[in-house]
Symmetry: C2
Subunit: 129 residues, 2 copies
DNA sequence: CTGAATCCAAGAAGATACTG
DNA sequence: CAGTATCTTCTTGGATTCAG
């Protein structure tokens, strides 16, 4: 069992894990949680564009898989915090790397994107003739 | 310009880049291309579960953003290869890291998932009382 | 062989309103 | 404040067909 794990294999269970991780929201949430426990509302504010539904849903997934822990303070009004587990902290380092890569490289990409958009169709170029 | 780039901001252009990168198919394809130029059919075989449409579509996106280059050999039958650019190679290192993280950690995650599934509802647990 | 184009189903994601 | 439920919208992805 667990021998030749390979996310490229459709039936390898590791593919399921990749499916969860390869998500915009997961990456951004993990990055936000690196600073320490964060409240739900604060997460909503930090992760721009996420809906409350997606936030809750993603946090449930992360909780189920052991990336985050939910801390419910028995107060009124209710206060809930989320914090990384050891596993989550490990993955968050990768998330941070991705975020930083994007920050460091997006200007080049955007420029390439503009150039390609302005250029003529691909069919007339890049042939080995 | 390009000062406080932050993918957390919905309107920051870097978010667009994150949107593309945070994709299962992108990660797997970049990993496959690390070995060198690969033909389309070979990619289809290696990346389990990808449809021809998604493969082509993803390759177009990667090409547009400067991650891969399309090499069309003027032969019959036609032969097309894709290879990483320098930018793509840079990102593929990260993709590889993610893949390896998944391979190394998925057994723990799967076990946690099973335990959580078997456990009672969350509402009755993990309160600070 | 490659891949573009179409149609269609399934699921993700957004908006809103409501409960504790 | 935190979370759920519902409804709607729309992107994703699969199957098929056709062209170079």
């Amino acid at each position: 069992m667990f021998l030749p794990a390979n996310p490229c294999n459709l039936n390898c269970p590791s593919r399921d894990v990749l499916d969860l991780i390869a998500s915009k929201w997961v990456i951004l949430i993990l990055c936000c949680l690196q600073q320490g426990p964060v409240r739900t509302g604060e997460l909503m504010r930090q992760v721009g564009g996420i809906s409350q539904k997606m936030l809750t849903q993603t946090l449930r997934d992360l909780e189920r898989d052991g990336f985050v822990e939910r801390i419910s303070h028995p107060e009124v009004p209710p206060r809930v915090e989320y914090q990384l587990t050891d596993l989550g902290r490990s993955l968050s380092e990768l998330a941070r790397s991705v975020e930083q890569w994007v920050v460091g490289n997006y200007p080049v990409i955007l420029e390439k994107r503009r150039k390609t958009a302005a250029a003529p169709g691909r069919s007339s170029a890049r042939h080995l003739d």
